[in-house]
């Protein structure tokens, strides 16, 4: 760990002022950042501790949605009665993530900003374009069991590790931020993350010093919700593939479908073509197979993660069957 300066912020406004520097990072739960700092994958010169900011509330907003403070711990969010009742997919996703201890500490905002779990990103002696732009990617020709099959570039095949963000993507969440210039932005989660392209170090659209203050969920969607996570052990493992699904049926036909995927891409993955193919049609195994083929039309394995392609196909079909049964 590199020595760093440390400051506590007592308001969001103070935090963004303090944080307006490339070498400064905000810290809340620290469940990912501290590990990365120990390994010197992250080497901020300064930490601004935002854990005492009053961003701990989960409140209903006008029009029927919910506003979640960026510091709400994952455990609290998962257990919240409104979330459990109306946004079951989110509660399930949260509880499928990490371990009880980590969920108690990890914040809503921090969870969105988790870094990849790529083995080579964590090893400072390996080549990694995400960690050191331009150094290369050791993962593509190396061991890549947990890495991406969708949205990759020749520069990076990392996955985004969050479960929570996958559910939020399916729910069309909006990320609310405060910039260092005092500007508030409302960023749809679909616009929040970036594909790696030739800048895999840039993972989202946040600007220097910009702070996530809230996440807003739109009114609860119609239909059934589920979160299906497939992993290597029963708990405390990242998703090999996960599906956040919300599907409604009217008159025997699928009237709406919101599907997001974890473990497949550099961001919580969503593909409108897949949803459009389902809407207006009667549920059937053939239809679900068609949807899976659409989802995986550009999928590319890198050797040890090839199995994710058939695994995703099977998991999506089974999940859709469950949601439409």
């Amino acid at each position: 760990m590199k020595l760093f300066d440390y400051a506590k912020a007592d308001s969001a406004e103070a935090a963004v002022r303090e944080g307006a520097d490339r070498d400064t990072k905000f810290i809340a739960g620290g469940t990912n950042l501290l590990d990365l700092m120990k390994l010197q994958v992250e080497t901020p010169a300064r930490l601004v501790d935002i854990s005492r900011l009053p961003l701990n509330d989960i409140e209903e907003i006008e029009g029927g949605g919910v506003r979640i403070g960026a510091l709400v711990p994952n455990s609290d969010l998962a257990a919240d009665p409104i979330i459990r009742e109306r946004y079951e997919v989110l509660s399930r996703a949260l509880l499928a993530g990490a371990s009880g201890q980590l969920r108690n500490k990890a914040s809503t905002g921090g969870n969105l900003l988790q870094r990849t779990r790529c083995y080579y990103f964590y090893e400072t002696a390996a080549r990694c374009n995400k960690r050191v732009p331009g150094s290369g990617c050791d993962a593509q020709e190396g061991f890549n069991r947990i890495l991406a099959i969708l949205g990759t570039s020749e520069h990076c095949i990392a996955t985004h590790p969050s479960d929570m963000a996958v559910a939020m993507r399916a729910l069309d969440a909006t990320i609310v931020t405060l910039g260092s210039d005092g500007e508030r932005r409302r960023i749809p989660i679909g616009d929040f993350y970036r594909l790696p392209g030739d800048t895999p170090d840039v993972e989202n659209v946040l600007r220097v010093g910009e702070l996530i203050t809230h996440v807003e969920l739109p009114p609860a969607p119609a239909g059934r919700q589920t979160y299906r996570k497939v992993r290597d052990r029963a708990s405390y493992a990242f998703a090999l593939v996960s599906v956040a699904g919300i599907v409604a049926i009217e008159d025997g036909k699928i009237s709406s479908a919101q599907l997001a995927f974890g473990g497949l891409g550099p961001m919580p993955w969503r593909d409108s073509a897949v949803e459009n193919a389902l809407i207006g049609r009667a549920p059937s195994d053939a239809l679900f197979g068609e949807a899976a083929d659409l989802l995986l039309r550009d999928a590319k394995g890198f050797g040890s993660n090839d199995f994710k392609i058939p695994l995703t196909r099977r998991t999506l079909i089974a999940t859709l069957r469950e949601l439409t049964a």
């Binding site: 061991f143 947990i146 089974a318």
Partner: protein
Amino acid sequence: MTTNALRMDKPVEQSLLDSGVQGIIGKGIERIDGPLKVAGQATYSAEYDFPNLAYGFLVRATFPAGKISSIDAEGAKAMPGVVDVVVDLKTFIRNAQQGGETEAPTQGVKDVAYFGEPVAIVVAESYEIARDAAQLVAVRYEPAEGVFTFDDHVDDAIKPPPGSMPPYHSQGDLDAAMADAAFTIDNVWRTPSQNSAAMEPHASIALWDDDGLTLYGSLQMPSSDKQQLAKSLGERQSKVRIVARYIGGGFGSKLGISPDTVATAIAAKAVGRPVKTVMTRQQVFDATVRRSNTQQRFRLAADADGKLTGIGHETLCSNLPGEGYFEPAGQATQFLYGGENRIIKHDLVELNRTLSGSMRAPGEAVGLLAQENAMDELAEQIGIDPIELRRINDPAQDPQKDIPYSTRSLTRCLDAGAKAFGWEQRNRTPGAKREGDWLIGHGMAATTRTNMLQPSEAAVSIGPDGRALVETDMTDIGTGTYTILAQIAGEMLGLPIERVAVHLGDTKSPPGAGSGGSWGAGSSGSSVYLAAQALREKLAKAMGVEADDLTLKDGHAIAGNRRVAIGELVGDGITATGSIEPGKQEKETTQASYGAHFCEVKVHAVTGEVRVTRWHSTFEAGRILNQQTARSQCIGGIVFGIGTALTEEAVHDDRDGRIVNHDLVEYHVPVHADIPHMDIVFLDERDPHANPLHAKGIGELGIGGAGAAVTNAIYNATGVRVRDYPATLDKLLEGLPAV
């Protein structure tokens, strides 16, 4: 001081533990060190503090093979808080030493042999500064050609020197037996590198003073570790003391000294201050001990009745050049089943991968995967119950050595276990039992673990307060040694357990067996037994009776109509030393513990996720000294076995041999949610050939065969045979029903 020495040349027909009346031996007494541990008062190696303590951090080579040309530490040395960067390419050890060795391990790090090899140590005022500075040390080198891939080099395998067993054994004509057999199995199994993943990382604190070196280290075998360390440093043994009072798991990875041990001692001397070094989890993976990967060809030949006529077990494993240690996968194959035509072979592929050495049940842990899967396949081919196949092939005596077993209860374990589990109600057709999306399967496997005795000494004293003290440099690595030694001394001396103190893990005490090879309880327990036996003689003398006429109970000596407090019989205190060593018994009898595992798994028909849902094991290991700690040992072993079957794999990058997933996030040991309730039963038995306790080893018994029971159950659930461990879901997908 009185010494009571015993060499196991003859069976000890009567154990005094059976005539003791204190009634604490065998009981499921809670760990006497438990309260200290849960209260944070048990001091582990990294938890001592000393005035002027400095912090060490190992600098690694970030290349897998090459000759160091220079180490540039100027930048690191210039950092505020850095005390020094200590480089000693000659004296640093290349890798850890194997357990029980009395020589220094391979020494000298100028020629780097594996990625992550420690080549220098930064000493600083804080751990964080030392760690940061270590990143700044530039290790310059001339690259050398390395050998990294196992599969491409199996043809270059060499015959290793003998280890815990000879590498080659052959009798009869296996090829002819295979040709003549009614039923045969001939398949190849693969197991990956593994890491012990003990909760406590390797750690050392070194202090030098006029008496020499004191090294607080997380080390399983202090007496031989002391010799290894002294030789590495060129010091006299009398100048080195090792303290290892509490150890947070070892599983073999702390049998010998490791690179931190020597580097910390060198650093402390160089800077003239005590130095503490704690390995990171990544360093534990990179630079301590792995279990070797193996490739095992296993052959079985059986006649029309299922009687084995031949067994072949040919293992390839890997290690660093020149190390010689091989994973003795054929260890149990030597004696578990009959069959007159036999080949057991081990060859070694030399690779630039971190050292391989002992990890829990070296040999059996992976060898029994192949053997017990092969037996399952054979039973299916013949069309008989796999228990029946094992019963048919339960030999009357050791099939290779033609000597009797000391005691052997394999068939009893199989029968009792089958009944307890409900084996008769098992699913009999692979893939036929489905509940919703889950396919249900049942599997079983046998286990065995060779029983070993190691030379061991202990001193036991009784003070005028009527309390006893046990002293030996034996260790408790989480197994329960503290507790069972107190139970043995208490039973022998008629003392309630709270009146027995046990001091372990300090080489100032008599040299114990150390913890390894499941020999700890039998070996160090026997030395305590013998010391206590000598004290009984003294107490009898003080009472004026023969020892046989003396009863010791609740702190009193009772003879005839007299009852005297023991403290009143010892004057200023009495002490005796007990000393045990192996003898002819281990040549004249084949000694091992046995068991049978039964499990139920469910396999998700869509995704291939496997969950173990039910478990029963019946074991026989001679006298059970403590029902509770023995049960915990068996459960721990089975959990290792389940991890081996389903998740554990240290993945080497083919380009440089490094372990890619060198942390506990991506090296998957089972978590609580992976483990069902464990139903564990011990058969009551005594083995007079093993030691005066009549107890056999148990620490490594649970792991053997456990993984095979899981994969046999996976086959039963799905019809998919996985011979390439671990059985992760990607290996099952193709064989699952279409969705």
